[in-house]
């Protein structure tokens, strides 16, 4: 019942949002569904929900960890959305970048798709059947495409088209991976259980190894496209930079993690079948490659939302790398996924405040954020420090764990490369962020300031401030509940 409610409540709310005429009522619906969803997730921490649908939908430690992330970020984003939608409603305005007219999509569609997105992400997290998993991941692509096209201009349209096409093709490749997995398991009997993860893990020894490996490659490529692993990340900077801040926060903080789950499950299946070395080496390779791509593109970046997007590519690389290394590093990797979610959502939400005031995503037009937006400015700077793995923030600990795990395995050269890439990204981001924060805004920009954004409404700063508090706490110490949860989650996937 609990699982059904986690998926069903947002879905029903989404259908309601499409038909509701009153804007205020619809916003209240969005916020209340987010709160109910979060409450249900908290309740699942206390009471283990029962599995449903032939054990296809299960909530255990791993699922609960990712559900909590998704739900918490959604709650923060919907608080932000209340204020954002209120400000953006029926507003058509010129952006400073090339003078594009912003003409927003109807709010009902936006809210409906947002809620459906939550429902589908929950389904991705809880499903233990590769077929259902595929359906849910593809559905997240389709529900987010209209969200990216919220600002109806040519740039966001281009981003939406690339996102739709590249991710759909990627996920089609993952479907082929599903079929390969069926071939790999053709020795097993019982058709109704054929793609269920638990059954595959139990019979891992009798799978056809070469087909299993091929299936892993296809799914790594397919879901890796969605997760933003290089070289298939090309849609990510476009989609993340063109969508509204709260959508970017959800895409980066919640969706990328969701796309990582099927890869993690396949990896655990490969390890169970004795092919762990093969899948690990691929994960390490793609992880380092993603970090490398991100480092190159961050160094010469002139768009601060694209900078954040490339940083997501980098951090997904760190997660893939850590899982690939295994041992202590996989604990670090999952912890890193948690930290990245909170930190990146924080930064994307703040970037929305900056964009609302300066009306430009170009770093050349933005300076003096600390002076004109005191709260957002401090959060922006602190978020940057957290994101680049400075103590006393969460990412410092998780990256340390990844490095420690890699050193334990004697991977000295890869660790050196890993650290080098982290430093390059740090330098690239520091240049941008410091330039934006310090100094004072130019005269002409100051005249075009939005009076409302200058006041920093509470809906725009409270979510980021709360996220910041979480990131700080996770850096000071790892709560025993969380570390226990991660250990259990890793045990669940055999690591």
């Amino acid at each position: 019942m609990m699982i059904l409610a986690l998926i069903g409540i947002p879905l029903v709310a989404a259908l309601l949002a499409f038909v509701l005429k009153n804007d205020k009522l619809r916003r209240a619906l969005l916020l209340s569904s987010a709160i109910v969803h979060f409450a249900l997730v908290i309740a699942s921490w206390l009471i283990q929900p029962t599995a449903i649908l032939n054990n296809w939908l299960v909530v255990e430690s791993l699922e609960l960890l990712f559900l909590t992330l998704t739900s918490a970020l959604f709650l923060m984003s919907s608080v932000y959305a209340i204020g954002y939608l209120g400000r953006e409603a029926h507003k058509a305005e010129l952006s400073q970048d090339k003078g594009f007219l912003f003409n927003n999509a109807p709010e009902a569609n936006f809210t409906g798709c947002l809620l459906m997105f939550l429902s589908m992400m929950s389904l991705v997290v809880v499903s233990r059947h590769f077929g259902v998993l595929w359906v849910a991941v593809e559905a997240t692509t389709l529900t987010t495409a209209p969200l990216i096209y919220f600002h109806r201009n040519s740039r966001s349209l281009e981003a939406t088209w690339k996102y739709l096409l590249i991710c759909s093709v990627g996920i089609a490749i993952a479907l082929l991976g599903n079929f390969f997995l069926v071939v790999a398991s053709s020795n097993l009997s019982g058709e109704s259980t054929i793609l269920t993860i638990d059954m595959l893990i139990k019979n891992a020894a009798s799978l056809h190894v070469s087909w299993l490996n091929a299936a892993f490659i296809l799914m790594l490529v397919g879901y890796g496209t969605k997760m933003g692993l290089a070289p298939l990340h090309t849609w990510l900077p476009d989609a993340h930079s063109e969508s509204p801040a709260l959508v970017s926060a959800l895409l980066s903080g919640a969706l990328l993690n969701c796309a990582f789950l099927p890869i993690l499950r396949m990896h655990s299946l490969c390890m169970e079948a004795g092919q762990g070395e093969f899948s690990s080496s691929l994960l390490i390779l793609l992880g380092l490659l993603s970090m490398g791509f991100a480092a190159i593109f961050i160094l010469r970046q002139v768009d601060y939302k694209r900078m954040l997007a490339y940083s997501s590519v980098e951090h997904m690389g760190v997660v893939a790398f850590g899982i690939g290394i295994g041992g202590a590093a996989s604990f670090g990797a999952l912890l890193h996924a948690v930290n990245h979610s909170f930190t990146k959502a924080l930064l994307f939400l703040v970037s929305g405040n900056i964009l609302a005031l300066y009306k430009s995503k170009s770093t050349n037009n933005v300076s003096g954020v600390l002076k004109v937006l005191p709260i957002s400015g401090v959060l922006w700077l602190a978020g940057f420090l957290a994101l680049s793995g400075m103590p006393p923030f969460g990412m410092f600990l998780s990256e340390l764990k990844v490095v420690e795990g890699a050193l334990n395995k004697g991977e000295y050269y890869t660790v050196a490369l890993f650290l080098l890439l982290l430093i390059i990204v740090f330098i690239g981001m520091a240049q941008i962020v410091l330039k934006m924060s310090q100094g004072s805004p130019s005269k002409s920009t100051e005249e075009s300031f939005d009076a409302e954004a200058l006041k920093e409404p509470w809906t725009a700063v409270i979510p980021s401030a709360l996220l910041f508090a979480v990131v700080l706490i996770l850096g000071l110490y790892i709560p025993s509940g969380l570390s226990e949860m991660i250990t259990k989650a890793l045990a669940q996937v055999g690591m």
Partner: protein
């Protein structure tokens, strides 16, 4: 029964060539629909066992969606966009056909290399599946119009579906329906996107989508 299946498989292979060499967008949409329709009824004809209710339902619904509903959606998007022809493909039609011949050779070679465990419904199905998938990917890369890229995506899906047929493997009904729904909504959303691209740029050339880059 088997000779009908063989003929249908050859027809599907020919549809791929028709798609690779066609400059008419309407033809492309129709041909890819025919291809999907044939592939939807194949499991009923090629199935080794009896024709079950499950098979019939899936064949009917997938035929209706892929064979009629989706081409209708795409045709509507095209009507609204007032566009009928692929003007300047990135790769020429003659060269595309030559590539097609190379791709079919590659598909037969690949399918001989794959050590297939278990039974296979028809030995022609595997090369057909691989050929259709590669042609679909080729269409996405080699054609500039948004509609042809959607056609390429549908070809890829058809190829993957054919791969599933090779092992006479059926997913549970609920999963199968979910997959169909996803693909249908994908085409629906892409159709809306095409309409908007046309409105924004007065054309559906995806080569115009180059504002976002580093």
């Amino acid at each position: 029964m088997n000779s009908i299946v063989d003929i249908l498989i050859i027809v599907v292979i020919l549809t791929n060539f028709r798609l690779l060499g066609s400059s008419q967008l309407k033809t492309c949409v129709r041909v890819v629909a025919v291809q999907a329709l044939i592939l939807s009824i194949l499991p009923v004809l090629a199935g080794q066992g009896e024709i079950t209710l499950h098979l019939t339902i899936v064949a009917l619904i997938s035929g209706a969606i892929k064979g009629f509903l989706m081409p209708w959606l795409l045709m509507r998007a095209m009507r609204e966009a007032h566009i009928t022809r692929e003007m300047e493909p990135i790769v020429g039609y003659v060269f595309s056909l030559i590539c097609g011949i190379a791709m079919i050779g590659l598909s037969f070679w690949l399918s001989q290399q794959l050590p297939l465990p278990g039974t296979v419904a028809n030995s022609m199905l595997l090369p057909l599946a691989i050929f259709t998938m590669i042609s679909g990917l080729f269409m996405i890369v080699a054609r500039g119009k948004a509609i042809t890229q959607v056609v390429g995506y549908l070809m890829m899906e058809n190829g993957i579906y054919a791969f599933g047929l090779t092992f006479a493997y059926t997913e549970p009904l609920i999963v199968e329906m979910g997959m169909l729904l996803d693909i249908f909504v994908a085409v629906f959303v892409m159709g809306i996107a095409i309409f908007n691209i046309n409105r924004e740029f007065d054309s559906i050339d995806t080569e115009l989508l180059t504002q976002l880059k580093d």
